[in-house]
């Protein structure tokens, strides 16, 4: 207790005059690595994640509830289950191609969103779906039968059992699964290379440009790292390493949130 307080207060006396422009500065140009930052890539990552989360979590949790609670075990259900399980193992580049065909391209089945954040977020959402579905199913399955029985016993309909009892009990598992899926797609570069993330972004990205028009260009941290490592100037390699550390810090933060949420809900349940 005392030692930790000492540790915290001691940091106040460290002469902290280091300015970290790295996180807040925009990319300047190819000749000035040390004054460049990952601001655009950071915003790009956050937007892509947000869109992926909004588009995938409700659908995936709904699908998991349907498969686990409602679907009768017919051949079709088994087939869907097998497909979902397999989708979770499909290489990410394939999802990139899917996103390119559906979200980016205009005409045919394409939605014509262009190489934008919206298209990238939706692609990443599709990629996260099978993972979230499987994690949610696992969480729903682990809700004890006695809880369902007691709910049916007081005369709940199936939806009331699901909504009032099963879902709240499965919530920690579902949230953990969703956040872990998000942190997995946060580190993905391959699908976005196909969807069309660019490396040289000078301005902050516009998240809805694919729909409303405007500058659709965007990038995310993994892509930024990838392009910087392929520059000849070793200074850029140092920048890539710094960006990697930022990415890892972001991942650790996400996973910590998952742990905190899970603990919070567990405590509320027990």
């Amino acid at each position: 207790m005392w030692s930790s307080m000492l540790l915290v207060t001691s940091t106040l006396f460290i002469p902290l005059e280091i300015y970290i422009p790295f996180l807040t500065e925009r990319y300047q140009d190819i000749f000035s690595p040390y004054s460049s930052g990952i601001r655009a890539a950071f915003y790009g990552t956050i937007w892509v994640m947000l869109i992926a989360m909004i588009s995938s979590v409700p659908i995936s949790v709904g699908a998991a509830i349907y498969l686990e609670e409602y679907a009768k075990p017919t051949k079709t259900t088994k087939l869907i289950q097998a497909l979902v399980t397999n989708l979770a193992g499909v290489p990410s580049i394939v999802f990139g191609m899917f996103g390119l065909a559906i979200f980016v391209k205009q005409g045919g089945i394409g939605w014509g969103l262009g190489p934008s954040i919206l298209a990238a977020g939706l692609t990443m959402g599709v990629m996260a779906m099978p993972i979230i579905v499987l994690a949610s199913q696992e969480a729903l399955r682990s809700v004890p039968r006695s809880l369902r029985e007691s709910a049916y016993g007081v005369g709940c309909t199936q939806w009331q059992v699901t909504k009032d009892h099963v879902l709240p009990s499965a919530m920690p598992g579902i949230m953990t699964g969703s956040i872990l899926a998000m942190s997995r797609i946060m580190g993905e570069a391959a699908p976005l290379v196909v969807v069309g993330a660019t490396a040289m972004i000078v301005f902050d990205p516009e998240p809805l440009a694919g729909l409303l028009g405007g500058n659709v260009n965007f990038t995310v941290i993994p892509i930024q790292i990838y392009f910087w490592t392929s520059e000849p100037d070793p200074a850029w390699h140092a920048m890539a390493a710094a960006a990697s550390i930022s990415l890892i810090a972001l991942l650790v933060a996400m996973n910590s949130i998952a742990i905190v949420l899970r603990q919070h809900f567990r405590r509320r349940l027990n």
Binding site: K72, P73, P144, R145, S146, L147, R148, E149, S150, A151, Y152, G153, V154, G155, C156, T157, Q160, D164, H165, P168, S169, L269, N270
Partner: protein
């Protein structure tokens, strides 16, 4: 063992049962299968109103299955299918278009292991009431208090109704489950070995409660303990291998059973 001896060991279910009291439930010729395996064979059984009916028998004889059939709890098991009729007055419980919510409101259930919701004590009792009756806050408070009192739990939890139901002791949890069941004013309460996870003192409390409850409700109880059946029940049915071997007034079953199997079971010579 010769085939003849075996058929002698497995009697048919008794039929044409008559009881003097008014009937609450009537089970007629109920067959039930789990997949290909038959679990009940032509069981017929009347349940007398405002009385305690006990079902006894060795493990796996189908007594829990029969009990769970009375409020269609077996519907939760996908491979379970059945043939026969259970009726409650004019309502046919086994009917294809039976309203399961209405049935489970009228026929409540208390399970083997205490299974309160992971909610507060108050919400545990109030949940079902809110579901079915849409009471005002004051009405709900009154119902919760009354139900906890009737379940002999009020004195212990009056000042901590907002603590989690799962934080109570096993016996208290089981009485909470009973309070939750009686809060929605069912006609029948089904109890599936309600004391098997409890110590003797908690068991005694529940048994006392059952005797109290039968004034207002019809109770059907499945139990492993013959002494418990003898203590609390008015009628007793003895089941064996999916058949209802004998059904009669409890005094008759425990003093002078008609069936040789029943006699051997209650004297502890098998099962």
């Amino acid at each position: 063992m010769s085939e003849e001896a075996q058929t002698e060991e497995i009697p048919n279910s008794t039929r044409d049962l008559e009881i003097d009291d008014e009937k609450e439930l009537m089970i007629e010729d109920l067959d039930l299968w789990y997949g290909d395996k038959q679990a009940l064979y032509g069981v017929s059984l009347p349940i007398a109103k405002n009385s305690v009916t006990a079902l006894i028998g060795p493990s796996g004889c189908g007594k829990s299955t029969l009990l769970r059939m009375m409020n269609r709890m077996n519907d939760l098991i996908p491979i379970c299918h059945y043939d026969g009729k259970i009726s409650m007055g004019d309502v046919e419980i086994t009917g294809k278009d039976a309203d399961l919510v209405e049935i489970r409101k009228k026929i409540g259930m208390v399970f083997q292991r205490p299974n309160p919701f992971p909610k507060s004590i108050y919400d545990n009792v109030g949940y079902g009431v809110k579901l079915h009756f849409k009471p005002t806050r004051e009405e709900l408070d009154a119902i919760v208090e009354k139900s906890l009192k009737r379940a002999a739990l009020w004195k212990e939890v009056a000042d901590r109704q907002h603590e989690l139901g799962t934080s109570l002791s096993g016996g208290q949890q089981q009485r909470l489950c009973i309070a939750r069941t009686i809060a929605i004013e069912p006609d029948v309460i089904l109890m599936d070995e309600p004391c098997s996870a409890l110590d003797p003192i908690a068991t005694a409390a529940i048994e006392e409660l059952i005797l109290e409850l039968k004034k207002d409700f019809t109770v059907v109880i499945v139990t492993h303990s013959m002494s418990q059946a003898a203590r609390v029940s008015d009628y007793t049915g003895f089941m064996y291998l999916g058949r209802l071997v004998e059904f009669d007034k409890t005094e008759k079953i425990f003093s002078d059973p008609d069936n040789e199997l029943t006699k051997r079971y209650i004297t502890g010579r098998f099962g």
